[in-house]
């Protein structure tokens, strides 16, 4: 996973001890995905088992240092050179929720969409504020640049979700209108109560 490779990337800049790795990981990513020291040491011991890092003495304060090996470097460069897999997307709770809300009794899918949209927009407002702060001074060191990229990724991700929600809503409205004007659309309530229900049933009956 990404922590493994993240640690390798930091170790490529020189030997480091566990809690320093944690601090550097967090300042790169603006503490968006906080690590605890336990996770860092667990990951380091797995990397050591796999021959990607070795223990490399201690610093003056007695911290055990870890160093990247050639195998670790090879692994790291393979990681940079390989696209992140999108063909097996992780389960998306929102997509599952909307899929289940289509035609669900007692559920107004437009309300589900709106409450999510509100939440997503609010998160975007907060991220945008962080971004405006980050841009107040031109980002100079690499941690600041890295954090800006991460916060913008959060904004783009949320934006994609907000746009998709807008699209779902207008799609449902259009489908409901189409169902309402089509004489063979069956009984009225399905079309008016749950917008997407009538078309969904119709496509089933066609198969």
């Amino acid at each position: 996973m990404s922590i493994r490779h993240g640690l390798l990337a930091l170790l490529e800049r020189g030997p480091r001890y566990g809690s320093r790795l944690r601090t550097e990981f967090e300042s790169r990513t603006g503490s968006t995905w906080p690590l605890n020291v336990g996770q860092v040491y667990t990951t380091l011991s797995r990397l050591e088992r796999d021959g990607m890092v070795v223990q490399d003495g201690a610093d003056d304060a007695g911290h055990d240092l870890y160093a990247i090996t050639d195998a670790g470097r090879t692994e790291l460069h393979t990681w940079f050179g390989t696209p992140v897999d999108r063909t097996h997307p992780p389960r998306d709770e929102l997509a599952i929720k909307l899929a289940m809300a289509v035609g669900a009794p007692g559920v107004d899918i437009r309300e589900v969409i709106q409450s999510q949209r509100r939440h997503t927009l609010k998160a975007m407002q907060d991220y945008t504020r962080l971004k405006a702060q980050a841009l107040a001074d031109v980002p100079s060191d690499r941690d600041e640049v890295a954090w800006l990229l991460v916060v913008e990724q959060l904004i783009f991700q949320a934006e994609a979700e907000a746009r998709w929600l807008d699209h779902c809503e207008s799609r449902l409205v259009r489908l409901a209108e189409a169902a309402a004007t089509e004489p063979s659309a069956g009984p009225g309530p399905a079309a008016t109560r749950g917008p997407a229900r009538a078309p969904a049933e119709r496509s089933h009956s066609q198969r």
């Binding site: 603006g30 605890n36 949209r117 927009l121 907060d126 962080l130 934006e159």
Partner: protein, 258 residues
């Protein structure tokens, strides 16, 4: 969740001072009888100094109607538009024109700069119409341009400027003088995303300096610069969001994962 314990106060107590713009039970109906269309159905909205409000909603939800009524470009069927404490219906045509010159600035999607005037002249024009001496109006215009780092375009005509420059000049024009309310209709519509962002950052800065702005947009990324996002549907406000401070977001993120 730790964040929900520190809920922001309701909108009315959020921003102190009296609102720059207040819409009270605002209704706009087109046509009558069977052809009656309710463009707006009883809108309440107060916008305070320093506040940037984004209005979102599907097309036909009443976004643009809201903006034209707020700026006195159209007349409400019922309800009130109050700008800086004045009910605009009580102003005559002259008073209305003066209010539009002095208190309200518009920013349109297509900039609406006058093609025969330079950037500085476009900005100075409303001030000159208001009786400000030409030299003083020009000085103000140059100051406004300098503030937006646009000194270099002062003597250029609109067709000699990029879209982003034109839109920033339009914002300067909307804010010159003591105008404290900006109404913006899709101000980023024709701009690429980075230039659109610069326009929003500018609008944000002006609001942080005390102006109030209402912006209609369908772009979530631009709406996210606002203090408050208002959602319209079928002529009614169905929902809205306030932005909490950024710090609370970080602590939420941290709290959720540890």
């Amino acid at each position: 969740m730790p964040a929900s314990a520190a809920q922001p106060p309701p909108p009315s107590s959020e921003t102190p001072g009296s609102p720059v713009l207040e819409l009270r039970e605002l209704t706009r109906t087109h046509g009558s009888g069977v052809a009656e269309v309710h463009a707006l159905r009883g809108i309440h909205l107060a916008v305070h100094p320093g506040e940037l409000v984004a209005v979102m909603g599907p097309s036909g939800s009443g976004k643009s109607t809201l903006l034209t009524l707020a700026g006195g470009l159209d007349t409400a069927t019922s309800g009130q538009v109050v700008i800086e404490g004045q009910d605009i219906a009580a102003l005559g045509p002259k008073g209305m024109a003066a209010l539009r010159r002095r208190s309200v600035g518009y920013v349109f999607q297509d900039y609406n700069l006058i093609p025969a005037l330079t950037a500085a002249e476009n900005i100075a024009l409303p001030r000159e119409l208001d009786g400000v001496p030409v030299r003083k109006a020009r000085k103000e215009a140059l100051a406004a341009l300098a503030e937006m780092k646009l000194e270099q375009v002062a003597d250029r005509f609109p067709d000699e400027m990029s879209g982003g420059q034109q839109q920033r000049v339009a914002i300067a024009r909307a804010l010159v003088g003591d105008r404290r309310l900006v109404l913006a209709d899709e101000p980023t519509g024709a701009l690429d995303s980075e230039t659109g962002e610069a326009v929003l950052a500018l609008l944000r800065t002006r609001c942080d300096q005390g102006a109030a702005a209402v912006m209609v947009t369908h772009e979530p990324r631009y709406a996210a610069w606002a203090d408050r996002v208002v959602f319209l549907r079928d002529g009614s406000i169905v929902d809205q969001t306030l932005s909490a401070g950024a710090d609370s977001l970080l602590s939420t993120t941290t709290g959720a994962t540890t």
